[in-house]
Amino acid sequence: MGSSGSIIDLFAWGGDGWTRPLLTGLGVTMACACIGYVLGVVLGLAVAFAKLGHNRWLGAAATLYTTLLRGVPPLLVIFLLFFGTNGALMWVARGFGYTGYIEVDAFTVGVMAVAFVSAAYSSEVFRGAHAAIPVGQFEAYTALGLRPFAGLWTVIIPQMFRLALPGLGNVWIMAIKETTLLSVISLAELMRVVGVAGRTTGQPFVFYGVAALVYLVLVAISSRAFHALETRMRWA
């Protein structure tokens, strides 16, 4: 087998080179992380307000959600979502007389998994940010005659984002790393491509080294970006 090729051959474009599949894998990783993270932050904000609100049941449900999603290893969340959603859909479909196999595709499940886990962590970040906003701000919007919803939307939430930003940066980095687990449901993200390439060519260290570098660069760029955002928001 072609394990004798030089490094240049390994990373050739097209043919037997691995650059193209690696870039495709990186694309899948980024798409999954980005979509999942954005959905997760939105959901996380909702969960945070469910916890902060006065409805006891909603609060309990939100607490249960964060406890579960933060307590269960992400790999298990992925397995449960994948086999759970498929199983549930098939169960419902069987009630309608359809007995075949139904699958929610791996990418959708991957995005869902990243979103649910990010939501659990970011809800706690938002709760912390909410607690850090001075009471005066709440009194201020009431004094201005704003209804609670408008007050939250225009006064409180923008300030929460500023305070939550460092924490949200951490959640983003976690989201990137969580995608590496998605290979188990046959999603061909970067780690999966790297693993296959390493074993196929007999050069695992070269490929795992490349992957380590890529993730390192992704995280470095991300922290720079979040840092820049923090600096800008400080004056906003």
Partner: protein
């Protein structure tokens, strides 16, 4: 309320159906799951195409069964739940037939088994024995290295205990190093790591000893690898087994084996399935 639930369910089903091509299952198509990263059994090319011993073999089986087959690569960890849920009809990829797995799932007949071999320095004059008894006599009093938890260790425990000094290793690499350094007189492992070692420049002083340890003679070592299936797929299992019988009889299985392993790993036709 009941109506609302029904509506919700209908929406869910509709959504499931709209979820696309994964739903539409042609009943004639056999869906095969394999790891895709376990050479030489199953591997993936840079263009994403699956290759390997198991892939070539499964394609031949599908031709014989006159069924169309679709391969999907999925890491081993997720394969058995996916099989049980119905994503795949059969899993292939060097899957050992074990009693534990047979309790819950079904196997096709065994089609491959990697023989066990001893290896030693060329200067040791242990090579060239005609049968296991001669080799066993020559090994008496020597130090033997073996990787723990393997079929090879099972073999050493059963056949050589007391006659030799056994040293256990965590992995093949450290076993290789000690064999090269002369800390063990001989070592036991599956045939393919020895082929890999003796092909390298570093492994030049090492040779593979005859004879091959025959699984028929030492049947506690297991019956090899097979295709893993659900128990309710009796028809497909029979068709697959029949095709395997034909491929074994025609020598095509041996050909595929030699292409990927460099030697014959194929097992004899299972008399219970193929007849005498």
């Amino acid at each position: 309320m009941q109506k609302a639930v029904k509506n919700l369910l209908s929406v869910l089903v509709l959504a499931a159906i709209l979820c696309g091509p994964a739903v539409a299952q042609d009943q004639a198509e056999v869906r095969i799951g394999t790891d895709g990263g376990y050479l030489p059994w199953t591997s993936t090319s840079p263009s994403g195409e699956l290759t390997g011993f198991e892939i070539d073999l499964a394609k031949q089986v599908c031709d014989r069964m006159k069924r169309s087959c679709r391969f999907t690569a999925q890491p081993w960890e997720g394969q058995i739940p996916a099989l049980e849920q119905g994503k795949y009809d059969i899993l292939v990829g060097g899957i050992a037939i074990t009693p534990e797995r047979q309790k819950r799932l079904a196997f096709t007949q065994s089609y491959a088994n990697l023989p066990i071999n001893f290896a030693a320095a060329k200067t040791s004059s242990l090579n060239g024995k005609a049968n296991w008894q001669e080799l066993k006599a020559a090994l008496s009093g020597k130090t033997i290295g073996v990787q723990s938890g393997t079929q090879s260790q099972k073999f050493v425990d059963n056949e050589l205990k007391g006659d030799v000094t056994v040293r256990l290793y965590d992995n093949q690499d450290s076993l290789n190093l000690d064999l090269l350094a002369g800390r063990v007189d001989a070592a036991v492992a599956g045939r393919s790591p020895w082929i890999a070692l003796t092909r390298t420049q570093q492994g030049e002083p090492i040779e593979i000893l005859s004879p091959n340890i025959d699984f028929e003679q030492f049947n506690y070592l297991g019956v090899g690898v097979g295709g893993l299936m659900r128990k309710d797929e009796e028809d497909l299992r029979k068709a697959w087994d029949t095709a395997l019988c034909e491929l074994k009889a025609s020598g095509e299985l041996k050909g595929i084996s030699e292409k990927w392993f460099g030697f014959d790993v194929s097992t004899k036709p299972d008399a219970k399935v193929c007849g005498a």
